[in-house]
Structure formats: C-alpha cells, structure tokens
C-alpha cells in the first residue's frame, strides 16, 4: 500500500518539478543579469531533484510491478545509490554553490 503511495507521490513530485523548471527558465529573463549565474545553479539543483524523483518513481514502479520487471529487481540498489548518494548530494552542493555565488555579488 505504502509503495503505491510512494509511486504516486514521486510521479506527482516529478511532474511538478518539471513544470517548475520550465517556469523558472522562462522567468529567467525578468531577473537581473547579476544574479543569473546563481539562479542558473539553483535551476540546475532543481533539475537534479527532478531527476532524483524520476529515478525514485522508476524504483517504486519496479517494486510495484515486480512481476513485469522481474529482471530489473537486481538494479534497485543501484537506483538507490544513484538517487540518494550522487544526485541528492549534488543537489545539496549545487544549492550551496548557488548561495555562495549570490554572496559574491
């Protein structure tokens, strides 16, 4: 039951994050050129978060329909490794970098 909820929540989160990315990129032109570098880094962070959510969605999808994706069960730990270790860490670092860039202005 909880796996289905995770699946739905991760899918909704991924869709919302993608829409956010589109809007943030569109409204970039209304921001001043001085903050654009930091802003771009933050957008990159949001992109990494969206990617994390997409991988989570794939993971929960494989768990939910393990009968159909039986062969992919072995790669679940690999998905966890990618999403939690690399992408989330990168996401946090990109935010940190973004804030540092804002400080330099």
């Amino acid at each position: 039951m909880s796996n289905t909820a995770f699946l739905i929540l991760s899918l909704l989160g991924f869709i919302l994050l993608v829409y956010n990315l589109i809007i943030l990129i569109k409204r970039k032109e209304y921001e001043s050129n001085r903050i654009l570098n930091g802003y771009n880094v933050l957008i990159f962070g949001v992109f990494l978060l969206a990617l994390t959510f997409f991988i989570k969605f794939i993971k929960y999808l494989i768990i939910e329909f393990s009968g159909y994706f039986g062969l992919l069960n072995e790669f679940l730990s690999f998905f966890d490794l990618i999403s939690n270790v690399f992408l989330l860490t990168l996401f946090s670092i990109s935010f940190l970098v973004g804030v540092f860039i804002f400080k330099e202005i």
Partner: protein, 371 residues
C-alpha cells in the same frame, strides 16, 4: 568500504549542507540581497526544497516516515513554488506585452528589436505555421485529386475491358444462335423419323391389343385361382380348428377313461373284499352247521347273521350291477372314440390331399405367370 561509509553518512551530510545553505541564505537576506531579486520568495522557496532533507537527517525515524516526509515535503513546496512562480511569470509577461504593444507606433525606439522579437516574431511564426498548414492542405488536396484521377482512369480502363468482354460475349452468343438453329434443324429431322416410327408403332398396336386381351384373360384366370386358393385356405384353417377341437375332446375322453378305470379298480377291490367276506361267511356257516347240533341256543344269532349276510349280498349284487353298467358305458365311449379317431384320420388324409392339390395349383399358376 568507503562507499558504504559514505552511504551511511550521506543523509547527515546532505542535511548538514542544507542547514549551512539555510543559514547562509538568512545571512545574505540580512545583508540585503533581496533587493537584487524581482521576487525573492521564489529563491527562498527553491532553497526551501532542501528542508525535507534536513528533517530526514533526524535520528529515530523509520524508513517509511522518511520517504513520506521527503516525497510529501518536496511535493508541497514544489506545488507552492509552482503557483507563486507561474502567477509572477504571468503578471510580468502581461506587463511586458502591454509595454511592447505601446511601441508598435514607434518603430525607431531602442526597444524595437525586443518588440520585434516579442510581438512580431510570434505573429510571423503563427503565419509560417498557417502557411505550412495551407501547403500541407494543398498537398493533401492535390494528392486526393491525383488519386481520384487515377481512379477515374482505372474505371475507364475497366469499362473498356468490360465493353470488350461484352463484345466477345455477343459474338459467342451469335455463334451459339447459329448452332442452335442447326440443332433445331436436326431436331426437326429427328421428329420426322420419330413420326415414321410412330406410324409403325400404330400398326403394331393392334397386335399389342390382342396380346393385351390375352393377358387380361390370364389375369382373370389367375384371379379366380387366387380366389379358390383363398377359399381353400380358409377351409383348411376351419378344419384345423375343428381338428384342434376334436383333439381337445379326445384328451377329455382320455381323462374320463382314466377316471372310469380308477373307479373300475376300486369296484374290483370292493368285489374282492365281498368275496373274502362271503368266504368267511361260508366258513362261519359250516362252523355254525357243525355247532347247530351242539348249540341250539345260538340259532337266533345265526338267523341275525344270515339276515346280515343277505343284506350284504344284496348290496354286492347292486354294486355289481352298477359296475357292469359303468363298464358298458365305458365300452360304448371307447367305441365312440375309436370312431372319432378313424374320422380324424380320414379328414387328415383328405387335408393332405387338398394341400397337395393346392401346391400343384400354385406351382402351375407360378409357371403360367413366368411364361
């Protein structure tokens, strides 16, 4: 080993980084960085996306609750961010659009390029799109027209083929008509031959009628014979029934005979008993005569015994007479039975004779029929 250590520390590392980010952002806000942004809340919300990962870093939380916090937190924050950013974007976009529309009447304005990019370019794109659609539509229509023309050409070709086929069929029909006329002539000739044969057959008809009358006569004869056979068959069946009745009567007579014989046996036994009693009486008479001289007192008893004997003899005589009568009756019945048997034998002989005669008649009839 290093990866495993990193994995265990990763959550805490991420939460620590986000805490640093949060503090740094607060510090920057106090320094007045907000003035650089058009909408600082959007940047704050983007950075706030890291908040669920700070909560996840807390100890004593189950894995399920951590994932719920992560997913729901990010979903909620991104939802708020989406609403605020889209609202802000639309407001700014509409404002800019209104400003650029005002430049329509001032082509030498320094923002003309932007005007062209913002106002004219989308219109041009729309027109290009419309042009492409029209070209596509034209192509489709030309394609359809070409296809229809091809279809018309094909139909014409098919019609020509059909016309040629019909001509060929017409020629064939004409040939068939000629052949039919020939066959008609042949049929008329055959008819004439048949009429001649008919006449010949009419001549033979008289002979056939004579033969027919003969055949009819034979049929009548056969019918009469058949009637006779049926009558004889009926007679045979009646006689069979009579014979069966007679045989039943014979059996009854045999039964009666047996009964009479039994009675005769019984009467014989009675007669023997009576004879034995007579003998005993004779013996007793002799003894009594011998004793008469010696015993005068026993005269009365003797007289009584004599009376009894007289009665017994009378009874014996009566039974004898009845026996003789019954014997005579049996003898007469025996003679009757013999007569019956003789009659039956005679009838059997007659029936056998009649059967032979019938079989001969049937054989003659079959021979005649075959002839």
């Amino acid at each position: 080993m290093a990866v495993e250590l990193f994995l265990s520390l990763q959550k805490y590392l991420v939460s620590v980084i986000f805490i640093i980010v949060a503090f740094y952002w607060e510090k920057l806000k106090k320094e007045g960085i907000n003035e650089l942004f058009r909408k600082p809340i959007i940047i704050s919300l983007i950075l706030f996306l890291g908040f669920p990962y700070i909560v996840i870093g807390l100890p004593n939380l189950s894995e399920n609750i951590r994932t719920y916090i992560e997913l729901i937190g990010v979903l909620a924050i991104s939802g708020i961010l989406f609403l605020i950013s889209i609202r802000d974007f639309k407001l700014r976009d509409n404002k800019r659009y209104a400003e650029l529309i005002e430049l329509k009447e001032q082509p030498k304005h320094p923002i003309a390029l932007e005007f062209a990019r913002k106002i004219v370019d989308p219109e041009l794109k729309k027109l290009d799109k419309r042009e492409r659609e029209l070209v596509k539509y034209e192509k489709n229509i030309t394609k359809q027209l070409n296809e229809r023309e091809e279809e018309i050409v094909r139909n014409e070709e098919e019609q020509n083929r059909r016309i040629e086929e019909l001509k060929k069929k017409e020629e064939k029909i004409e040939l068939d008509i000629k052949e039919a006329k020939k066959t008609k002539k042949e049929i008329n000739e055959d008819k004439k031959v048949i009429e001649k044969e008919k006449e010949a057959i009419d001549d033979n008809k008289d002979e056939i009628e004579v033969e027919k009358t003969r055949v009819n006569k034979l049929r009548d004869k056969n019918k009469k014979i058949l009637k006779k056979i049926r009558k004889e068959k009926k007679d045979i069946i009646d006689e069979r029934k009579k014979i069966e009745n007679l045989s039943k009567e014979l059996k009854e007579l045999d039964n009666k005979k047996n009964e009479i014989n039994k009675e005769y046996g019984k009467l014989k036994k009675k007669e023997e008993k009576i004879k034995l009693k007579e003998k005993n009486l004779d013996d007793k008479e002799g003894k009594l005569r011998l004793r008469e001289d010696h015993v005068e007192d026993g005269k009365d008893e003797l007289a009584i015994e004599r009376n009894k004997l007289d009665k017994m003899t009378e009874e014996a005589e009566k039974s004898k007479e009845a026996y003789e009568r019954k014997r005579e009756e049996l003898l007469s019945e025996e003679t009757k039975l013999r007569e019956y048997r003789e009659k039956l034998k005679e009838r059997e002989k007659e029936l056998k004779m009649r059967r032979k005669q019938l079989e001969d008649d049937i054989a003659d009839f079959m021979r005649r029929k075959n002839e």
